[in-house]
């Protein structure tokens, strides 16, 4: 049996909504609605093709329906785009950079806890940190765009803080746990509210809350209840290194998962041409 107008419409809807994880459910639900209405019209004596055309008119153009699925309750677009796809690639890079910065820190990048400290390793470490923070900021922007929050006040603030932190990382690398703590808190604020959990890639970003916790642990064990030996600057390397390693490794996992999630999503087609409706056969 050849596809009729409703089949063609539903196929077009499915193709244009393929970025949604529940695309099959949406298509089945639309098909049920359209068949129900067309059947009722046919039962009233209307010709099948006329019934289907009238049904599709009432349901709305594919582009109109796709756009309704592509925006948040307050009308902001929240779909996979080329930006979110690029942010996925950045996320994978950020994950690798965080993991590398953890390895270099443990190998004497900032402390001489495990092996003797050296200026060359410190400089390498701060460059890795700057790369990690820059790519993390791009990934954050992608997640905010994907969830319709990039242009909100909290979204702009999070990205601005990320840019600021990137610039501050090289001269202030030793303070990265505190600085990233502020960024992590900003991301959590920006991603609060409904609509985030349905975007699988966005869920991982909540792991960045580990940074404010790490900053608190650093203050606690470096200032309030010092642990380990005291170095020549009066700091406690163990209190510094432990939270940094935990936070950077958590970030490596979170960013890699977020990145692969954003990359896996098909870019939404909101402006494609309408389906060519074929006449009912027979």
């Amino acid at each position: 049996m050849e596809p009729d107008l409703i089949d063609t419409y539903v196929a077009a809807l499915r193709a244009r909504l393929r970025w949604r994880v529940d695309v099959d459910d949406v298509a089945d639900e639309a098909a049920d609605h359209l068949r129900e209405h067309a059947d009722r019209l046919v039962a009233q004596g209307i010709a099948p093709e006329t019934a289907q055309r009238e049904t599709l008119d009432r349901f709305g153009d594919v582009a109109v329906v796709v756009r309704a699925f592509a925006v948040t309750a307050d009308g902001r677009p929240a779909v996979p785009t080329r930006l979110t796809h690029a942010a996925g690639v950045a996320g994978l890079g950020a994950g690798a950079a965080w993991a590398a910065s953890a390895v270099v820190a443990a190998a004497g990048g900032h402390t001489d806890l495990l092996v003797p400290w050296s200026l060359a390793r410190y400089e390498l470490w701060t460059v890795l940190l700057a790369v990690a923070v820059a790519l993390t900021t791009f990934t954050i922007a992608g997640v905010l765009a994907r969830t319709g929050r990039l242009r909100s006040l909290s979204g702009v603030t999070a990205v601005f803080l990320g840019v600021l932190l990137t610039a501050a990382t090289v001269p202030l690398g030793w303070a990265v746990t505190m600085l990233a703590g502020v960024l992590g808190a900003a991301v959590v604020v920006a991603l609060r509210g409904p609509g985030v959990d349905e975007v699988a890639a966005a869920r991982g970003m909540r792991w960045l809350t580990v940074w404010p916790a790490g900053a608190a642990a650093l203050w606690l064990f470096d200032e309030a209840y010092p642990i380990g030996r005291t170095d020549e600057y009066g700091d406690h390397p163990l209190a510094w290194l432990t939270p940094f390693l935990v936070c950077s490794l958590c970030s490596a996992i979170a960013l890699a998962r977020t990145g692969s999630g954003l990359r896996a999503e098909a870019v939404a087609d909101l402006d494609g041409s309408p389906p060519a409706l074929t006449p009912v056969s027979g």
């Binding site: 459910d25 699925f69 959990d197």
Partner: protein, 111 residues
Amino acid sequence: MRGESLKGHLDLLVLAVLADGPLHGYAIIEALRERSGQAFDLPEGTVYPVLHRLERAGRLASDWDASTGRRRRTYRLTGPGRGVLEVERAAWNEFVTAVGRVVQGPAWNPI
């Protein structure tokens, strides 16, 4: 009434329609059209994103059934959804009463 006017109140309208019992998407839209005196003129397909959003927010729940030969999704109000409906309904009644008093002018008093 223009569809755009209804659009801002769709959440409340959908919750109100489902207060009487579970319905599938087509029946919800038919009820919206019927109970609004045919004033509901939004493209019907744009109601489904609203249903899905309300479900994600925990105000609706849904079940699939294939006994008719087609997969059909039926929505129902959840406890939190019913609570939201009561609050929104009270706020709406208060709003309509207040606006009505202003728009209709003061009551005529012959004394």
